[in-house]
Symmetry: none
């Protein structure tokens, strides 16, 4: 019997309320350049400090040592789904990021406009980086002219610049397919093929993609520089057991950005729309307290400023978060976890693999006797350094949601 099956068998239905608060890209690095302080260490965080006294701490490895996750695997891990086992295609993530609702079995592709010469050779993979309104216009044109290919519905949505997504919604489809992208200039657009040559469903999906190309290329043939397009990360939305099935938890998502709402929806969370600021998000949590068992609250700005390499702004984002925290604390859940989905160190200016700090509070979390919540303190915590996918198991345990294992 595997471990997930053991966890499932031990799972109890209780009245406990649990909340996961994600400061995106929270983790950072102490470096000489920054006075050996991380933004979390440099920030004034009186409310996190007070909480840390009665909490356990540790660090979460997002996927596996050294692996830098995108937002998809980062959040799937926090939600308790092994990001190696549950792989979600880039097309699906991109579609979710654009706010599209996907059904199980939908095949999604990341797309971008490109420039083709008279022989069909890719001369510019980004079509001269056309502006978003141009992309929107081209997508609207394609959407209007192509509603279906074969028996599958086609959904096209523009993204930023030259980027868009294409969804194929039909019966008996699956991915992954190889890319319709030579990945460099000077080559033609390759025909897509099933990655698994034995999959009849993937064969059907590949055929639909070919038909889509056949229908779409003539429509934009005169639209140079955007007279062609590339498709990548073509895969279906995998069947993922929902929170309700897996944990017996009714889960609600309070996020602002579409990508995170999409990831939450992927695992069966209800999107609680509306709030724009972290204060409003916490207010919404308080208002919905009785309606859900598990709350996922997502705060974006720590990641955004980490990507910019802006130490002061990241520190300020943490201080803003801390200032709003009392709104949540006035309706303390039985189990509260505060962490990141990965690190976004200012000196890296991007996501990284460095384990993010986590704080876990409950009546039976115990105290690690740490005065603050920081990366360096978390290294000494009782949770140790463990894979992010185990966080929800610790949250369940702290909510007394597990039966005892064996006599």
């Amino acid at each position: 019997m595997n471990l997930d099956a053991v966890y499932s068998e031990l799972t109890l239905k209780t009245n406990a309320k649990v909340a996961l608060v994600v400061l995106d890209g929270l983790g950072d690095l102490a470096t000489r350049e920054q006075g050996y302080m991380t933004p979390l260490e440099a920030a004034k965080t009186p409310n996190l400090d007070a909480l840390s006294k009665d909490s356990a701490q540790g660090r979460l490895i997002p996927v596996a040592p050294g692996i830098t996750p995108g937002s998809g695997p980062g959040h799937l891990g926090l939600f308790g789904y092994d990001p190696i086992e549950f792989q979600v295609g880039r097309g699906v993530i991109e579609a979710l990021g654009l706010g599209l609702t996907l059904n199980a079995g939908d095949v999604a592709a990341r797309a971008n406009f490109c420039t083709l010469d008279a022989k069909g050779i890719v001369t510019d993979r980004r079509a001269g980086r056309i502006e978003t309104p141009v992309c929107e216009e081209l997508c609207a044109l394609l959407s209007k002219k192509i509603k279906k290919v074969g028996d599958a519905e086609v959904i096209i949505k523009a993204g930023k610049g030259h980027r868009f997504v294409v969804i194929f919604r039909g019966k008996g489809l699956e991915g992954p397919l190889t890319d319709a992208d030579p990945h460099r200039e000077g080559l033609p657009v390759p025909t897509v093929e099933p990655v698994d040559a034995k999959s009849a469903k993937a064969k059907k999906a590949a055929k639909l993609v070919a038909e889509f190309y056949k229908a779409a290329l003539p429509i934009i043939a005169q639209k140079k520089p955007a007279n062609g397009f590339l498709l990548r990360g073509i895969a279906h939305q995998p069947a993922i057991p929902t929170f309700e099935e897996r944990y017996k938890l009714r889960a609600g998502c309070i996020a602002v950005y579409p990508m995170y709402k999409g990831l939450a929806q992927l695992v069966g969370m209800t999107k609680l729309e509306g709030p724009q600021t972290i204060a409003e998000q916490f207010e919404r949590y308080v208002a919905e307290y009785d309606n859900y068992d598990y709350f996922f609250i997502h705060y974006k700005y720590t990641d955004m400023y980490g990507e910019d390499g802006n130490f002061e702004a990241k520190k300020k984002a943490i201080e803003d978060f801390d200032a709003a925290l009392p709104i949540l604390l006035k309706k303390m859940p039985d189990v509260l976890a505060i962490t990141g989905d990965h690190s976004t160190p200012c000196i890296v200016k991007g996501h990284s693999w460095h384990p993010q700090p986590v704080l876990l509070h409950s009546a039976i979390s115990g105290s690690d006797k740490l005065d603050r919540f920081t990366e360096t303190g978390a290294n000494r915590g009782s949770l140790g350094i463990l894979e992010a996918k185990y966080l929800i198991r610790l949250m369940q345990a702290n909510g007394r949601m597990f039966d005892k294992y064996g006599a």
Copy 2:
């Protein structure tokens, strides 16, 4: 090759002596209510303190993050058997707990008397919680009248209150079987079936259980409220490689309570009977020093007072243990590990998943420069936070019982 096979291949036969000392349920939590001290932190432990200076420390995850083990999985882990891979049925554990000796292949069931109405419907699953002497009388009656069913010997032993165990000892039997227990009142006792429908051995065991019911029910038909019985956790004693086979160690068990002797016997340890106090247990260890390579010494009271939520008594139990420790230390083994099988925090009043602290001492354990052996200190130890099943590997390594791996 899997990891266990690698360990086996590297295992050497040496003259090293190793001792595992288990303070049952040792781990605890620092909480505001208890002045942010665990019983281990609050206790005066001069002997453990002195030892900790020359030891390594860490914390052991009993099974997997968030999983609270019973005594069975807790000890199997410490003995180096993955508690997910080596699952022992509740019936077997219960039988061991009553001091019965089981053979590989014996099928054991947890049983309890219940009340049935004229139609065979369960009206009280605990037969009005009959007193132990009544249970003993009924078990004696059943034992006298039923020696065998089919070609299998039947062994019946009374437990506390309405509880007892039934063992089927015969050829070609195995479990697990479904429960002969509707798990609530108002329903008849279901017929047991093999969990794996393809197992001929389990089919045979199910048939024996049915015959046992047929023979036993008429005997107690007039004994209301205990005119029926339920069987649960029906499984065979699994074949577990012994300590000698797995580690090349002659192992002796110095425990007081039957459950722990039973678990030790399950992995092929010799039960060294007699001692009642921890001082007597340590004396026995000294006396048997030349006769065994590995000693398992079990101390129950830390768990017992943790279950009661009695902080002062748990603290005192640790102090009593510490006072006796010099008896063991005067015959220092080459490798000494002191730990728990799980945590039993006073505020939980039961077992928990929180990793238990471990202290490991040998000539080559190194020192973590910790002045005391505590949960908080152990978080910073060089052993880290690791699964309990690896403890014996570290003990073997410290006893120089492993060859080098690779050139």
